[in-house]
């Protein structure tokens, strides 16, 4: 049994027949061929799969594609404006906010939401804001620097 879903991903409408149990992350990775969103734990804890669903950060490994029917999804691939990186992407690059890069897309999407809600966060607020995202490489300090960089850039 398959269900038809229509999900707008980074501005493109994807109409696909999916099994009702298909996870949003697999819809994005397998159906839309957008592999920037990663699976780290399958239990919504590590945050590597974070995307924006109607502007809100969600763990796409714990969201069904059918739950996103009719929704607007933003993934890391949709952030840059052509060659021009989003300030959060630029911040991560400039401040060495990533090493292996696996948590990075989710970390970036959470940070994008954080800065929407709180454009001038303190370092503590940034640490709170990315609490749902785990990184095993950087030790987070450079990630916090990255988000501060982006906040500054977006504010100017």
């Amino acid at each position: 049994m398959k269900t038809l879903v229509s999900i707008t991903v980074n501005g493109t409408v994807h109409r696909e027949e999916v099994e009702p149990r298909t996870l949003l992350v697999h819809f994005l990775r397998e159906h839309c061929h957008l592999t920037g969103t990663h699976v780290g734990c399958e239990t919504s804890i590590c945050g590597a799969c974070t995307v924006l669903l109607n502007g809100e950060a969600v763990k796409s490994c714990a969201t069904l594609a059918v739950q996103a029917d009719g929704a607007q999804i933003e993934t890391v691939e949709g952030l840059a404006d052509g060659d021009k990186l989003h300030p959060v992407q630029e911040g991560f690059w400039k401040c060495h906010g990533l090493q292996c890069g696996y948590c990075t897309p989710g970390m970036i999407m959470s940070s994008v939401q954080l800065l929407k809600r709180c454009p001038n966060p303190t370092r503590e607020q940034i640490a709170e804001g990315i609490e749902g995202n785990l990184c095993r490489c950087t030790g987070y300090s450079h990630i916090i620097d990255s988000v501060e960089y982006a906040a500054k850039k977006m504010g100017s």
Binding site: E42, C100, Y102, E131
Partner: protein, 780 residues
């Protein structure tokens, strides 16, 4: 002539990051091949059980399942999972890719399903019926040594995998000379490495060429290419291993896993590419764990704090099988047990013991964190027992800068160091006198405030081939292309460390060409075709040197061509980054011109070999020994046992820095692993061998809000072990930080009479220690 921009030594963002921040990098699960099938592994729910029968009919009948295999189907075709460590009395079980007649740990692979999609493959696992007969379980290594203990592998008739003794110096004389012998027992808890990308691989067999390609999330594609032929019957020269983008390794991807060989076998057998991606729970339970030693330590000291000798009796719980380096890890603990101190004698008696748990193996630091933790805790205990200042005890026993190269009590030769220098700088950055005052004032107010330090030394840039089982050299190849662009092939396999950048910095300076014209390839044995990969903080020191050696060869060759083209004698030609010229003439020639001539090859000297390419193997004479001092101040909440880090200062000496930003990232990342080890992380099995920490919900790695603000500094003491003097920095944080945090917490509790608490210092553990040492119950 444009001024050459120096890149080495500059904090620069990484060249590899654009693809990573855009989400367009390729990790192994991003691979898609025509006809790809998906494998899922059925794992034992019992820590020890006889497998009386397996019924796969239900799984095979599920629509979308292509086939199901058990041990009897595949083990005879797959060889055994290798361990590369030889020890005289090593007793080892046959480590087949799937379980045979018994399962020996929770997670032991029992069957494999191959299906058309990953959901169906996992569905089918539930349809396999296995008739298990549970057997007695042993999960504690010391219990496993007791008479009458259940045997992990009954056929081995013992739980002792190996014994190992290190003794140097006159131990008896040292203990006779001692005013005091201080004893302490310490546990080094088992840890789960937890890269955010779990393991996974894609295997594809080309029947016509009889060649195999394996894309796998590994640190060691080259070592796998050396070892896998024996397992799958495909010769090395028909085998291509690719480590694509790898999402973290931390030593746990320094292995050849059963699943990698199994997928290769299935790809060949089924004539279709096979993908296997593990779940987090599989990763937590079936990728190698780290640490897990318990030791009884005795130190011979004089009353002025002079440390004469250390004796260690250590039991290492190695789990149920030997993975690639399992037995070697606790021996590294022994080799580094003298720390940065000038001891007269040392002895370590080590037993490696089988239990019904996952194997241990390298995890960030790999044996050295246990050594540093032990010796740095002992230094504090000595100071406490003798009423001395922990700083003075360390200074009294330091190896002095003029004593290098220094032959240690453990039998290693330390390359270079200035331990007192790093300590002094860290004290300065920590504002030591004010910090002591802050402690006094806090304590007067009744707060539990503690200061801890750790003066560590570790072993990196592994290593001379004499120390390694399959070569400790590193390889690199540099090609100046016809276009003047440069392609670099390295035998190290970065997976987050950033050598695409640091190597580009080196090459750019040496050639005098912009970094954007340099590409660094790694991790694919078909392009970066030889190497010994990334582990033990070896990549930059060894891989970087092999690249510089290759560039020197190219410059030497290009000098001959430049002389020919400028029509001057070779002796007249001078190279400076970017061009060759002949002083006293107006003649000069750029790399672009030379590269074109070298490949077009119409105007070259007689007997001149066309092209501008060279490769090199760098064989180091010794390892390197990075060192430093970490200083931590903590406040412990008396009511909850919660530890708050109020100051963190680290001074590391990893030799000269190519890219300080990347070094800072390595140090901070390493410290985060240590904070986890010191405060939260512990892999827990229950008495039945069930893993209780199988998800991130139960296994607490550090989160952003657990991280303190750091003050980081460096001293720079070049290593004589490689021409750049680089020592390595990948594990320093993990080795240096754990004892500093532990010492700070114990110092905070010391007014209550607490002298030692085993890690991790969770609120519960600390609260219990407070209760045990407080007459009155704490005010809640």
């Amino acid at each position: 002539m444009a001024k050459i921009k120096q890149n080495v030594g500059k904090a620069m963002p990484r060249v590899e990051d654009e693809r990573l921040v855009k989400g367009v990098a390729t990790y192994v699960d991003d691979m898609k091949l025509p006809g790809l099938l998906h494998a899922a592994v059925l794992r034992s729910p019992y820590a020890h059980a006889k497998i009386k029968g397996i019924d796969t009919a239900g799984a095979k009948a599920l629509e979308g399942v292509v086939d199901v295999f058990v041990g009897a189907d595949v083990n005879r075709h797959c060889g055994v999972v290798p361990c590369c460590v030889e020890m005289p009395d090593l007793v080892q079980p046959k480590h087949t890719v799937l379980a045979g007649k018994r399962a020996y740990f929770v997670g032991h692979p029992v069957a494999v399903v191959v299906a058309k999609d990953r959901y169906i493959a996992r569905d089918a696992l539930d349809l396999i019926e296995v008739d298990y007969d549970p057997k007695d379980v042993v999960v504690d290594a010391e219990a496993a040594l007791e008479e009458g203990s259940p045997l992990t592998h009954p056929e081995l008739k013992t739980n002792v995998a190996f014994t190992w003794t290190l003794e140097n110096g006159d131990l008896k004389a040292a203990f006779d000379e001692a005013d005091r012998v201080i004893t302490q027992r310490m546990r080094h808890q088992r840890l789960t490495p937890s890269p955010i990308e779990p393991r996974g691989c894609v295997a594809s067999f080309h029947a016509g060429e009889e060649s195999m390609t394996l894309w796998t999330s590994t640190q060691i594609p080259h070592l796998i290419r050396t070892m896998l032929p024996d397992m799958i019957g495909v010769p090395e020269n028909k085998l291509r291993i690719v480590a694509p983008e790898v999402g973290g390794g931390f030593g746990a991807k320094l292995n050849l896993y059963a699943e990698e060989a199994l997928c290769c076998h299935l790809a060949k057998r089924m004539g279709a590419p096979i993908k296997w991606i593990e779940a987090r729970r599989e990763n937590a339970g079936t990728m190698t764990h780290g640490r897990d030693q318990v030791g009884d330590y005795e130190v011979a000291v004089k009353k002025d704090g002079t440390v004469l000798a250390i004796k260690a009796k250590t039991v290492a719980d190695i789990g149920s099988y030997l993975q690639l380096n399992t037995p070697a890890i606790p021996t590294l603990t022994g080799s580094m047990l003298s720390g940065c101190y000038n001891l007269k004698a040392i002895r370590m008696d080590l037993k490696g013991v089988y239990t019904h748990k996952m194997s241990t193996d390298a995890y960030r630091g790999a044996g050295r964190p246990e050594a540093t933790y032990t010796v740095e805790r002992l230094m504090d205990i000595i100071a406490y027992e003798l009423g001395l200042d922990p700083v003075d005890v360390r200074k009294r026993n330091f190896i002095k800068p003029d004593q290098f190269p220094f032959n240690t009590a453990c039998g290693l030769t330390y390359d270079s160091g200035n331990y007192a220098g790093a300590l002094k700088k860290a004290q300065r950055l920590a504002k030591w006198p004010q910090l002591l005052k802050q402690r006094d004032e806090s304590r007067k107010k009744g707060a539990l405030f503690g200061i801890g330090l750790s003066t560590y030394v570790e072993i990196c840039a592994l290593g001379p081939s004499s120390m390694m089982s399959a070569g400790g050299w590193e390889w690199g190849c540099v090609r100046m292309e016809i276009s003047g662009k440069v392609t670099v092939l390295t035998g190290v396999t970065p997976h987050g460390q950033g050598q695409e950048t640091s190597f580009s910095q080196l090459v750019s300076d040496k050639f005098g060409i912009p970094m954007k014209d340099i590409t660094v390839h790694s991790g694919d044995t078909a392009t970066a075709h030889y190497g010994r990969d990334t582990y033990g903080s070896r990549a930059t020191a060894l891989g970087g040197t092999a690249i510089l050696m290759s560039i020197d060869k190219i410059i030497a060759k290009a000098t001959t061509l430049a002389a020919h083209l400028m029509k001057v004698s070779r002796k007249k030609v001078v190279y400076e980054p970017g061009r060759f010229h002949a002083p006293g003439t107006d003649k000069s020639i750029s790399w672009n011109e030379l590269a074109m001539e070298a490949y077009v090859a119409k105007n070259i000297p007689r007997n001149f070999e066309p092209g501008l390419e060279a490769s090199s193997f760098f064989e180091p004479e010794n390892c390197t020994y990075p060192f430093g001092t970490h200083i931590v101040a903590v406040e412990v909440d008396r009511a909850t046992g919660e530890v708050k880090i109020v100051k963190y200062v680290a001074v590391d000496d990893c030799g000269p820095l190519i890219n300080p930003l990347l070094v800072e990232g390595q140090v901070q990342g390493g410290i985060a692993h240590s904070l986890g080890q010191a405060l939260f992380e512990k892999t827990v099995y229950d008495e039945y061998g069930q893993l209780l920490t199988g998800e991130f919900m139960d296994y607490a790695i550090a989160r952003a809000k657990d991280i303190p603000e750091y003050t980081l500094g460096h001293t720079v003491t070049p290593s004589p072990s490689n021409p750049m003097g680089i020592k390595g920095c990948g594990e320093a944080g993990t080795i240096g930080a754990t004892p500093a945090v532990a010492n700070a917490v114990i110092d905070a509790l010391s007014p209550l009479g607490v002298t030692h608490v085993d890690l991790p210092l969770t609120p519960e553990t600390v609260w219990n220690a407070i209760q045990q040492h407080t007459a009155q119950p704490a005010v809640a």
